[in-house]
C-alpha cells in the first residue's frame, strides 16, 4: 500500500515528532510547545498544537505559513499587503508543501534504478499553478479557509496569477497535461523546456483587429520556480572544429566555440493528484557566463562590457509566435539547441550521479521529442557520447537510437523545420559534421539494399539538395528515433502513408500511434467544479485517478433526477460565462441560448471562416424573413493569430465585424449574438469549455493532427460538430455516432476532390445560401458599406479556397440546422451530453501516458515515500 500524505497529520492536530530528530536538529522554523510558551509573554497566546508552518496541512499550520511568508518573504502583513502579495504569499505556502514531495521524489530518482523520462518540449502551457496545486494536494477547503484572512477569496487569488504563456497552442498544453499525468501515475519524468522571458504575445482587439503586445508574465514575481545555479550547464555556439589525436592515439574532434552561454535551470514542481510523486518542469534560462568583464568596464567601455551579456540572454527572451509555420531564424535554432543541449547534459549528469556508466544511458533514460523542434537532440546526444564521453560512433548511435523517440504533431510540410546549411554551420559546426556522417551511413545502408531509386534516396536524405541546401530536421528525428508516433489514429496513418511514407517503407516497426489526451484534474475538476461535484455524488470511486470510472454515469443518461442536476450544472456554468462576458465585454447574452463555441488558434485550416459563413447565413435568414423561427444561439470565439499570418488576422477582423453588425441589429440581436473574447489562454479556456453546448471542430479532414480542444469540450458535456479529422474520429468511436454531429468530406474525399481539380466558384454559383452569405461580406453589410475590407478573404474563398470551405459549406449548414432542432429537445440533448462525458475515459492523458510508458518509453511507476518533514529538512541542512 502506498504511504500517502493523508496518513500524516492532515486532520489530527498534534503529532509527536521523533525525539531523536528534535534533539539533533535545531530547526528554527519548528516551534515546539515549550519554546513558544517560553518566549511568548502574552498569556492570551495559548498554543495547543505544534505548528509546522512549512509542511503541516492543518488550517492552523497553513495560516501560520501564509502569515510568515507575507512577513518574511514579502515584507508586509495582513491588512497592508495587496492582492499580488497575498497571491504570492499563499503560493509560497503551497510551494512549501510541494517541496517536501518534490525533494522526496528527487531522492527516490537517485536511489532507485528505474528508467527516467526526459521530455523535451520547446513549449509548455501549464496554466495557472495555484488552483491546480491546491486541487492536487487535496487542500481546497483548507485553502478557502486560509485565504479568508486576506479578505480575498481563494478564487480571487487564483484568478490573479499571471499565466505562463510558454506555448502557442495545443502542443504546449499537451506537454503540460502529460507532465501532470506522469506525476499522477507515479512515473519518474522531467519536463525540459525554455523559460521564455516573454511568452506568447498578449492579444488585444482594437477596432476589431488583433494587436500584439509583449506579455511580461514574470513582472510581478513567480513564486513557483526555484533557480538551481548548481545544476547549470554551459552551451557552446559557433566557432570551428579541430581534430587531434588523444593520448591513446585515437582520432578526436574538438569543438572550439566562438561564444558560450550558461543554461540556468528554473524548477517548477508539478505534483500528481493525491499522490506523493511530484515531478519537475525544468525550464532553462540563458545567462551570460560572466555578468560582464570588469576589465573592460574599468577601462571605461561600459557598453562593450555588457554587450556579451545582452547577446547571451537574448536566447531565452521570447517565444516564437507561430504554431504551424516554420521560420528559419538563427535565434530559433539557437533556442532549440540551447535547451536540448542543457537538458541532455543534465540527464547525463543525473545518470552519473546515480553511479551509473555511460554505456547504460539508454537503459536509464528515455528521451521524448515533442514535435520536431528538439530534433537536434539526436546529434547532440551523439556529440556528447563521442566527443565528451569517448564512445565509438557505433556505440553512440546504438545508445541514441534506443533513447530517443519522436512525436510528430503536424502533417503540414511548411511546419517542418529545415535549416540552411550555411546558417547551421555558422551556429553548430560540429553538429553539421556529425549530420554528414550520420547521413552518409544512413544513405549507404539504404543504397546497399539496391531497392530504391535516386529520388527515394534524395527524399530520405537528411540534406535537401534540390536548391539551396538545407538540413531536414524531421528526417533527422525519424532516423534517430526508436519510435515515431502520430497523435491520433488518422494522423498516425497519414504519417505512414504520406509525410513519412519513405521512412515507413524502410522501418515500418518504428511507427506507432498514441492518441492525445487531456488531464481531467485541470479540465474537469479545476475548470468545472460544479460538474466534478455532481459526478462525485454519483460515482463512489476515485474517478479522477481513473477516468474510465466515469462510464458508470452512462446508465443515468435518461434518469430524470440526474438530467435535472446535469442541466442545473450546465445552466450555472453558462450563467457564469454570461456574467463574465457582460463584465468584460459589456455584452449581454442570453444564457438560455445555445452556446456555440470555437476556441483555438486562428488558422485557415481550422476554418473559423466556415463558422462565420454559417452565422451570416442565419443573419440573412432572419433579415429575409423577420418572423422566421430560429433557435437562439450565442457564438463564442477566442484564439490568437500568428502576428505575421495575414489571412488569420483578416478572419479575426471578419468575426468582429459580423459580431458588431449582429449585436447592434435589433431585428437579430435577440436571437443571435457573436462574441470574440480576446487573448485566449488556458485560464480563459477553463471558463469557456464548461459553459459550451456545442463544440466546433471543423478543420478540413486530414489537416488537424489530433486536436485536444475537442476532448476538453466533450469532457465538459458539449456536443461536437466536426469533420472526420484528428481525434474527432476516435471521439465518435467512443461516444457513438448518434451523440455527435459529423459533417463534410472525409480525408479520402478531400484527396479525390483535389485530384479532380477543386473549383470553389462552382459551389458559390450553385448554392444560393452560400452566395448570399459571401455577397453580404463583399457588399459591405458588415463593414459599414466598405466593400473592399474583406476582399482578400472573399477572393481567397472564391478562387483558391485551399481548405475547401465552400465544398463543405452545404453539409455544415444542414448539420447545424439539425442541431438547432435537436437542441430544443432538452431530454435527448442532455442524454447525449451525459453519454459524451461518460465515454471520455479514453481521452484522459493518463491513458495516453500509460500507452507511451508501456509501448515507447518502457517506464515503470515508482513509489515515493515521504520523508518526515523534519528529516527532509535535516537532509537539506547537511547534504546540500
Amino acid at each position: 500500500m502506498k504511504k500517502n500524505e493523508n496518513d500524516d497529520s492532515k486532520t489530527s492536530k498534534t503529532k509527536a515528532k521523533p525525539s531523536k530528530v528534535k534533539a539533533t536538529v535545531a530547526s528554527p522554523k519548528t516551534k515546539s510547545v515549550s519554546s513558544i510558551q517560553a518566549t511568548n509573554k502574552n498569556p492570551n497566546y495559548v498554543v495547543t498544537t505544534e505548528l509546522d508552518e512549512r509542511t503541516g496541512l492543518s488550517i492552523e499550520s497553513l495560516k501560520a505559513g501564509f502569515v510568515d511568508h507575507l512577513f518574511y518573504d514579502l515584507g508586509t502583513y495582513i491588512g497592508r499587503a495587496n492582492l499580488n502579495d497575498y497571491y504570492i504569499g499563499l503560493s509560497l505556502t503551497i510551494r512549501d508543501r510541494l517541496l517536501r514531495r518534490f525533494l522526496s521524489t528527487q531522492k527516490t530518482y537517485l536511489n532507485k534504478d528505474s528508467r527516467i523520462l526526459g521530455y523535451l518540449s520547446a513549449e509548455y502551457l501549464p496554466g495557472t499553478h495555484l488552483g491546480q496545486n491546491v486541487i492536487n494536494l487535496d487542500l481546497i477547503q483548507e485553502m478557502q479557509e486560509v485565504s479568508k484572512i486576506s479578505n480575498y477569496s481563494l478564487d480571487q487569488l487564483i484568478e490573479h496569477e499571471p499565466e505562463p504563456g510558454l506555448g502557442n497552442g495545443g502542443l504546449g498544453r499537451l506537454a503540460s497535461c502529460y507532465i501532470e499525468s506522469l506525476a499522477t501515475l507515479n512515473y519518474p519524468a522531467i519536463g525540459y523546456g525554455i523559460r521564455y522571458e516573454y511568452g506568447i504575445f498578449r492579444q488585444l482587439i482594437q477596432k476589431g483587429c488583433q494587436k500584439e503586445i509583449a506579455d511580461r508574465w514574470l513582472h510581478s514575481g513567480n513564486p513557483w520556480e526555484i533557480r538551481r545555479p548548481k545544476q547549470s550547464s554551459i552551451i557552446k555556439f559557433g566557432g570551428y572544429t579541430q581534430s587531434y589525436t588523444d593520448k591513446n592515439g585515437k582520432y578526436r574532434v574538438e569543438w572550439v566555440p566562438s561564444y558560450q552561454v550558461t543554461a540556468m535551470p528554473y524548477d517548477t514542481p508539478i505534483p500528481g493528484y493525491k499522490t506523493n510523486m511530484c515531478n519537475v518542469l525544468r525550464l532553462w534560462k540563458a545567462e551570460a557566463i560572466q555578468d560582464f568583464s570588469f576589465e573592460v568596464f574599468n577601462s571605461g567601455n561600459y557598453f562593450e562590457a555588457v554587450h556579451d551579456k545582452i547577446l547571451s540572454e537574448t536566447i531565452s527572451k521570447i517565444l516564437y509566435p507561430n504554431d504551424a509555420i516554420f521560420e528559419g531564424k538563427q535565434l530559433r535554432l539557437a533556442q532549440q539547441y540551447f535547451f536540448v543541449s542543457a537538458s541532455i547534459q543534465n540527464m547525463i549528469d543525473l545518470h552519473f550521479r546515480r553511479g551509473d556508466k555511460i554505456h547504460n544511458f539508454h537503459k536509464k533514460f528515455a528521451i521524448q521529442l515533442n514535435d520536431t523542434h528538439p530534433s537536434i537532440a539526436v546529434v547532440e546526444l551523439m556529440r556528447l557520447l563521442i566527443d565528451v564521453h569517448d564512445l565509438s560512433y557505433e556505440e553512440a548511435w546504438a545508445i541514441t537510437t534506443k533513447s530517443v523517440n519522436y512525436t510528430n504533431h503536424t502533417l503540414m510540410t511548411e511546419a517542418l523545420e529545415k535549416w540552411p546549411i550555411s546558417l547551421f554551420k555558422r551556429t553548430l559546426p560540429r553538429h553539421l559534421e556529425l549530420i554528414y556522417e550520420i547521413n552518409q551511413r544512413h544513405l549507404d545502408k539504404v543504397r546497399s539494399s539496391n531497392k530504391y531509386d535516386d529520388d527515394f534516396i534524395s527524399r530520405v536524405s537528411l540534406i535537401d539538395e534540390t536548391g539551396e541546401r538545407y538540413v531536414k530536421m524531421a528526417n533527422l528525428a525519424v532516423i534517430g528515433a526508436q519510435y515515431i508516433n502520430g497523435v491520433a489514429k488518422l494522423h498516425s496513418q497519414l504519417l505512414k502513408s504520406h509525410l513519412f511514407n519513405d521512412f515507413y517503407i524502410l522501418n515500418p516497426e518504428k511507427f506507432t500511434n498514441v492518441t492525445n489526451g487531456i488531464t481531467p484534474r485541470r479540465w474537469l475538476k479545476n475548470a468545472n467544479p460544479n460538474l466534478a461535484n455532481l459526478l462525485d455524488e454519483y460515482i463512489n470511486t476515485n474517478w479522477l485517478n481513473d477516468l474510465n470510472q466515469i462510464k458508470t454515469i452512462e446508465k443515468l443518461a435518461y434518469n430524470k433526477d440526474f438530467q435535472k442536476n446535469w442541466l442545473k450544472v450546465k445552466k450555472q456554468n453558462k450563467l457564469n460565462l454570461a456574467n463574465f462576458i457582460e463584465a468584460s465585454q459589456g455584452l449581454t447574452i442570453n444564457p438560455d441560448s445555445l452556446f456555440d463555441c470555437q476556441v483555438k488558434r486562428i488558422h485557415e485550416y481550422k476554418r473559423q471562416h466556415l463558422n462565420v459563413l454559417h452565422i451570416i447565413s442565419l443573419y440573412n435568414k432572419i433579415k429575409n424573413n423577420l418572423n422566421i423561427n430560429i433557435t437562439p444561439r450565442t457564438f463564442i470565439f477566442s484564439g490568437k493569430a500568428a502576428p505575421a499570418y495575414y489571412m488569420a488576422k483578416q478572419i479575426i477582423q471578419l468575426i468582429n465585424a459580423v459580431a458588431n453588425t449582429i449585436n447592434n441589429d435589433p431585428n437579430v440581436n435577440e436571437i443571435l449574438k457573436v462574441v470574440f473574447l480576446p487573448n485566449f489562454s488556458v485560464k480563459l479556456g477553463q471558463k469557456i469549455y464548461p459553459a459550451a453546448d456545442l463544440s466546433e471542430q471543423i478543420s478540413l479532414a486530414g489537416t488537424e493532427a489530433s486536436g485536444t480542444g475537442n476532448m476538453k469540450f466533450s469532457l465538459n458535456g458539449a456536443l461536437t460538430i466536426g469533420t472526420l479529422d484528428g481525434a474527432n474520429i476516435e471521439i465518435m468511436d467512443y461516444v457513438g455516432k448518434d451523440n455527435l454531429y459529423i459533417f463534410g468530406m472525409t480525408e479520402t474525399m478531400v484527396q479525390e476532390s483535389k485530384n479532380n481539380g477543386y473549383n470553389p466558384h462552382s459551389f458559390y454559383e450553385s448554392n444560393p445560401v452560400l452566395r448570399q452569405a459571401i455577397d453580404s461580406i463583399s457588399n459591405g453589410v458588415f463593414s459599414d458599406g466598405d466593400k473592399h475590407i474583406f476582399n482578400d478573404i472573399v477572393n481567397n474563398l472564391l478562387y483558391s479556397d485551399p481548405f475547401m470551405v465552400l465544398e463543405d459549406f452545404d453539409s455544415y449548414i444542414n448539420t447545424q440546422e439539425k442541431i438547432s432542432t435537436d437542441y430544443l429537445n432538452s431530454q435527448e440533448w442532455v442524454a447525449k451530453s451525459i453519454i459524451n462525458v461518460a465515454n471520455m475515459g479514453y481521452f484522459s492523458s493518463d491513458r495516453s501516458i500509460n500507452e507511451y510508458c508501456k509501448n515507447i518509453w518502457q517506464l515503470k511507476p515508482i513509489q515515493v515515500d515521504l520523508e518526515d518533514a523534519i528529516q527532509a529538512r535535516y537532509h537539506l541542512i547537511h547534504h546540500d
Partner: protein, 381 residues
Amino acid sequence: MTSLNLIVNSGSSSLKLSVFELFQTNKVKHIQERTFKLLAESDNHQQEITDHLNSFLNEINLDDLKLISHRIVHGGRFYHEPIIIDEKVNKDIKDLAKFAPLHNLSAVYAIESLKIKLPQSIQLAFFDTAFFANLPLAAKLYALPISFYNDLHIQRYGFHGINHEYCYHKIKDYYKHSPAKIVIAHLGAGASLSAIKDNQCVDTTMGFTPLDGLTMATRSGSLDPGIITYLLQEKYSLSQLNHILNFESGLKGLSGLTGNFQELIKLTHQGNESAKLALDIFVHNLKKYILAMVASLDGLDCLVFTGGIGENSAYLRQRITDELTFLKIKIKRSENDKLKLNSAGLKNIAKKSSKIKFLVINANENLAIALKSIPFLMNYS
C-alpha cells in the same frame, strides 16, 4: 471586477492626473485628481514626471488599474483615432515631438515610466489633433509651396480636439436634432475655435502648432510671418523667439502685467489702460475669428463657449454678443450673470427668441478621455 482608468494629461507646464472607474454601461465615476506643476527650468523632466506619477499611484489600488490613457497633443498626419500604445506608436509620438516639443515629450516620459511600473496595464493614446483630421484641403493648407505640405507635412493640424469633440457630442446628446452649424470657442490659457457643419469639423483656428489663431494668455496667436524673419535677422535666437512667442506674448505680453483674464478685467475696472488694451485686442481677434468660422460654415446656428474663460467670464460672453450685434444672438442676462450648468455640465443662455443658440459647456478633457477609453476594457478577459 473593478476597472480603473488613469488619465495622464501632460502639458507643457503641468501634469494633470485623474482616475476614473469605468463601467461597461458607458458610465464613468470620478475617483481622484491631482495637478502637478512642472518646473520650467528643470532639466530632468523625465525624473520629475516619474516622481509625480509614483506619488500619485501610491494613493490608488494598482490591482484594479486596467487602462492608462494619455492625452497626446500632436498625432501628426496619421493618427486619427484612439490607439493602443505599442513600441511603434510610442516611437511615432516621440518623433512627432519635433512638431510639439513642449507637449509630446512629457507624454513619452509618462508612457515610458508607466510601462516599467505597470507593464500589465494597457496604455492608450488620445490625440488632440485627431478631431481635425478631415478638414477640407482649403482649410488645411497654408499658402506655401505645395511641397511643404507633401514632403514636410506642414499643414493645419488643429488642437484642443479632445474637448472640441467632447463639446460637440454634448450638443448632440442635448438636442434631438443637432444644430447644423456650430462654432465652439475653447477659451482657456490656450484658445481655439472650431467650426462644425453637418457632423464634420470644417475649420479651426489653431494651425501647424498651438501658436496660431486667437490671442491667448501668453501665446501670441497669428502674426505676420515677416515679423519672425525680421526678429531672426535682428539677432533674436530661435530659442529666445520660441520662449517669447509661447510664454511672454498674448495678454501677458500686451498688458505687461499678467496673462490671467479675470485679473485683467479687475484691473480694467480699476482704470488700468494697458489691461484694457490687452482685453480689447483679445476681444477684437476673437470676434474676427468667430466670423471667420462663420464664413467657413456659411452661417451659424449655435455658438459654444467652453474652457476656463469661456465658462467663467460672463463679461466676455456679454461683450461678444453685444459687439456682434448683426448676428442677433440674444442672451438672458440673468442666466449669463449667474450661470448654473445643468447636471450634464451644459447650459443654453440664449433667449428662446434667439435664432442662434449660445451654449456654455464645462470643458473636461479627462472625462472625455475616460468615456472614450471604455471600449478598450474588452481586452481584459
